[in-house]
Symmetry: C2
Subunit: 203 residues, 2 copies
């Protein structure tokens, strides 16, 4: 492909992502259509169908792209595609990632579309299955991998199930974001990591 | 009030609760109306307005009643209005309550209406605020109270913030239920309590 055409494609792609995220945030997932996304992005419907087969696919990629942009904007401190860092200091590594996740959840560009998608998922288990598998599970798997490495390094007890331990870190953020049960900030992220690693009972 | 009229009222009230829960599960919160609930319950609209001022109020009370029924059906093992038991054994007490919560979340009578309400809450922060305050916060407060008692008894470190510690127990259940990120059963509830109390790092 010639460089000019590549640039043009990249611009259309970004415009389509932005249109899809804006629409789903404004009118919800059920009322968002490929036609609506095309009109808002100022491209033909066929341009979208050339790259994607469904609105679900467009949205999924738009979210992945948004996550990458958010990570870049945060100064490259941490990006999901790098996995969870392994500096040997499990507590510090988990705190870094949880604080970055708090920032992403509080990012206004993310808020409305993510909330619309999450609402659709909560009310529609078939949809949830697909989106949770595509958007949420890969991030959750990063925690499992990091916890397994920590087990190898003797920093997490070997009999701990990493799929359950993972939830101690990610679920509290998810619930505060989904249901507004309390403030979602860096101090919260740090405390969660400490309590989950060392327990709340006296040691 | 004469006994006959009390019985009749109680029957109408239960029919209205059942109609409200069924409708919200079938067509979602936004399309559920007082008129629809009245028609389904076989009562006049005025009967509903005599007792409640909005569909939100009807639904809230219907959920509280459903919780009480579920607790009764479970053989009175644990009912939310009793608070979290304090037998002196924090681990056992939390496990009892978390297992009962898992049973309630998996109860098919609860599933559809609760999911419809939760979806509305996730997508509509103003609505969420009201419902979280009325339905979720009182249960969450029970954990805070029990954790404070445990701090008094030397079973939880005094510097632990009970509002954050609470989330280690309740948020994982909430996320598995809301987003289907893993199995939600008694074994899960038990492990969560153990990890949160004693930590996942070697002691």
């Amino acid at each position: 492909m010639a460089p000019d055409s590549t640039r043009r494609s990249e611009k259309s792609r970004r415009a389509i992502y932005a249109a899809a995220l804006a629409l789903v945030g404004e009118i919800g997932y059920p009322r968002t259509t490929i036609e609506g996304i095309a009109a808002r992005a100022g491209v033909g419907k066929q341009t979208i169908y050339r790259w994607w087969s469904s609105k679900a696919e467009v949205l999924m990629e738009a979210f992945v792209d948004l996550g990458a942009q958010a990570a870049e904007a945060a100064g490259g401190d941490w990006a999901e595609e790098d996995g969870i860092p392994d500096t040997g200091d499990l507590e510090a590594d988990l705190k870094t990632v949880l604080r970055a996740t708090v920032d992403e959840l509080n990012d206004p560009r993310y808020e409305a579309p993510a909330r619309a998608l999450a609402a659709e998922g909560v009310g529609n288990p078939a949809f949830a299955k697909e989106f949770v598998a595509m958007l949420l599970m890969p991030s959750l798997e990063l925690y499992v991998r990091r916890l397994r490495a920590a087990q190898g390094a003797g920093q997490v007890r070997t009999e701990v199930d990493p799929y359950i331990a993972r939830d101690l870190f990610v679920s509290p953020l998810a619930q505060r974001w989904l249901q507004g049960t309390g403030p979602l900030d860096h101090a919260y992220a740090n405390k969660l990591v400490e309590y989950a690693l060392y327990g709340i009972a006296p040691r």
